[in-house]
């Protein structure tokens, strides 16, 4: 039994890290641009394809591929902000509907380019670490390690750079940010770029574990939604707490009860939080 508990704990933390990467990007984009980005999952998908192309088609090293994926995602984000989202800055609802359109374009574009069949991604590492009875596959340790590095890097960037402070100011209050000289022409595109770069990085990291196809964006998007509903939209600490909670709940319920119970428990939790604290565990609310 203690073996199962320890194993579930490790699994839950790994899942939580993935969810956190998805949710932080999502909540950042909302905080900065006030847009609920339904295309967020598609950027995860594109990150996975970018990694696949880099590693299997171009034969690049995995680390370089990931770095290129992130750089490419930031540029793409800036472009998408300009072309799609800029006209809807003052209109949350239209921006959100536009993101639905964007999601359809991206997913079906990928379908057109790569076909519906899932693509195989070669394993980056194989084998397992054994700690007592506990078993941690090396592939997961790698994803976890790189994921934590990216998240820590992002945190440092957000807390200790001028630009990061500008972003945080914008998340807090648009008017205050304007007072502090935050320029929307620069911060908006880069904010979106960073948000989707986190999604793309998650896609690139998870591709070796979970495979690549045009349809893989749906699950991470749903998880990001659940995390931000639980944690409070626009709250980064809330997202961190909720992502870990979700990862652990899924892992423990799957291991001790069943997989479908895990989904039901998750949604029951969502409903429960909404009834008691509709703005999320650490959300500020909007009413």
């Amino acid at each position: 039994m203690s073996f199962l508990i320890a194993q579930s704990l490790v699994n839950g933390v790994i899942l939580g890290t993935l969810y956190l990467m998805m949710a932080i990007g999502f909540t950042l984009v909302f905080g900065v641009m006030r847009i609920v980005n339904f295309a967020h999952g598609e950027f995860y998908m594109m990150g996975a394809f970018a990694a696949l192309i880099g590693v299997t088609w171009l034969g690049l090293p995995y680390a370089l591929t990931l770095a290129l994926t992130v750089a490419f995602a930031i540029l793409l984000g800036a472009l998408v902000e300009r072309v799609v989202f800029r006209p809807f800055r003052s209109d949350e609802l239209s921006g959100m509907i536009a993101s639905l359109g964007l999601a359809m374009i991206l997913q079906n574009g990928a379908l057109l380019l790569f076909g519906p069949d899932p693509q195989a991604f070669p394993s980056m590492v194989s084998g397992v670490f054994r700690i007592g009875e506990m078993i941690i596959p090396k592939s997961r340790s790698l994803a976890l390690g790189v994921g934590v590095v990216i998240l820590v890097g992002f945190y440092v960037f957000l807390m200790h750079t001028r630009f990061g402070r500008g972003l945080r100011a914008l998340v807090q209050d648009q008017e205050v940010a304007a007072l502090y000289g935050v320029r929307p022409e620069i911060v908006y595109p880069l904010g979106l770029g960073l948000g989707i770069a986190l999604a793309a990085a998650a896609g690139g990291l998870m591709a070796p574990l979970f495979g690549v196809s045009p349809f893989i964006g749906a699950t991470p998007l749903l998880k990001a939604f659940i995390v931000v509903i639980l944690g409070g939209l626009g709250s980064i600490p809330g997202a961190a707490l909720a992502a870990m909670l979700l990862g652990l709940i899924e892992s423990f319920t799957s291991s001790f009860v069943s997989a479908s119970a895990a989904d039901i428990v998750t949604f029951a939790l969502v409903v429960g939080v909404l009834l008691v604290r509709p703005s999320g565990i650490l959300g500020r609310g909007e009413s």
Binding site: V36, A98, L100, G101, M104, I105, F225
Partner: protein, 324 residues
């Protein structure tokens, strides 16, 4: 329009309105001109999509959007099918009952949630649609599980079974007219005035003494009840339902119809359904691009025609007035 003097004057477009009404009647008659069973089927699907989207429009009139609309269509469908097949209730009773069930569920959900405004509500309805699907999958004894329920009895009125598409079409058309008439009445009555106030300026509406949360919940309940009503007709026409039939994509398709048609006008859902439901039949040769085209159309309409196709004539005539 209404005799209430303070409502926005729309007398100017009454000629346009008449032309529009005639065009609608002609369009509604198309299947009889062609006599094609397939065209009757498409016409039925147009009516059903228009009806469900009109429900979504009601929610849009208070400045909200529900991404659980497909689930409410599903709730109505399951309610009606279970009433008819398990309890032997006549369809004509099951139909309004399914609207009431959907409306009641919306009320219970909307009451706590509509204290939150804006996109937060949308986010949550997205999750609710998924929850509906999962819950239905969990209770196969009720929902038929993932295999769904097949062989649903056809629509029957006073013992007359609507076997063929033309008969179903007439029935659906009448039901659509009924729903549109109801919405017209609401829009031009006191509640419609509150809806408009809430949509235009929620904070000011609240400060003017309008209970905005309750008003939004009223719109959510009415819109979702219409969705349930549509779902009942759809289930008995198609003859098959499963949890997957009411997944998130269905909700999105209603959003596309509504936005393309015009989300704040009464005619918007009608126009959206008339344009978009038959569109795939014209795009068969470009099938793989179909969804990309939808995505592009959605973004372009939002950007250049925020009032949707319903606002196009006015835009072309150079008038800046909105509403209607």
């Amino acid at each position: 329009m209404s005799t209430v003097s303070t409502m926005p004057a729309t007398g100017r477009v009454s000629v346009g309105g008449a032309v529009f009404a005639i065009a609608l009647v002609v369009l509604a008659l198309v299947p009889w001109f062609t006599g094609s069973t397939f065209h009757f089927h498409i016409a039925i699907m147009v009516c059903l999509a228009a009806m469900a989207s009109a429900g979504l429009a009601t929610i849009a009139w208070v400045g909200q959007l529900s991404l659980a609309h497909g689930a409410f269509v599903g709730i109505g469908a399951y309610a009606s099918v279970l009433l008819v097949t398990r309890l032997g209730v006549p369809f004509l009773i099951a139909l309004p009952a399914s609207a009431i069930v959907a409306g009641a569920v919306a009320y219970l959900i909307g009451k706590p949630l509509l204290r939150l405004c804006g996109v937060y509500f949308v986010l949550i309805t997205f999750a609710l649609n998924e929850l509906f699907r999962l819950v239905m999958l969990e209770f196969p004894s009720v929902s038929g599980g993932s295999s769904g329920i097949a062989g649903i009895p056809k629509i029957s009125l006073f013992g007359i079974v609507l076997e063929h598409q033309p008969e179903v079409y007439v029935f659906t058309l009448v039901m659509l007219a009924f729903v549109m008439a109801l919405l017209w009445t609401i829009r031009n009555g006191p509640l419609g005035r509150r809806f408009a106030a809430v949509e235009e300026n929620l904070v000011l509406a609240e400060a003017s003494g309008i209970p905005t949360a309750r008003t939004q919940n009223a719109a959510f309940v009415i819109g979702s009840a219409i969705a349930g009503f549509t779902g009942a007709i759809m289930a008995h026409y198609i003859g098959f339902i499963s949890p997957e039939s009411f997944a998130f994509q269905l909700s999105v398709s209603y959003v596309i119809i509504l936005v393309t048609g015009g989300r704040l006008s009464l005619a918007g859902p009608l126009i959206g359904a008339i344009f978009l439901v038959p569109l795939p039949e014209f795009l068969r040769s470009a099938q793989q691009y179909q969804h990309i085209i939808y995505g592009v159309v959605l973004i372009l309409v939002l950007r250049f025609l925020p009032g949707g196709l319903a606002a196009l004539p006015r835009k072309l005539l150079g008038s800046e007035r909105s509403g209607g």
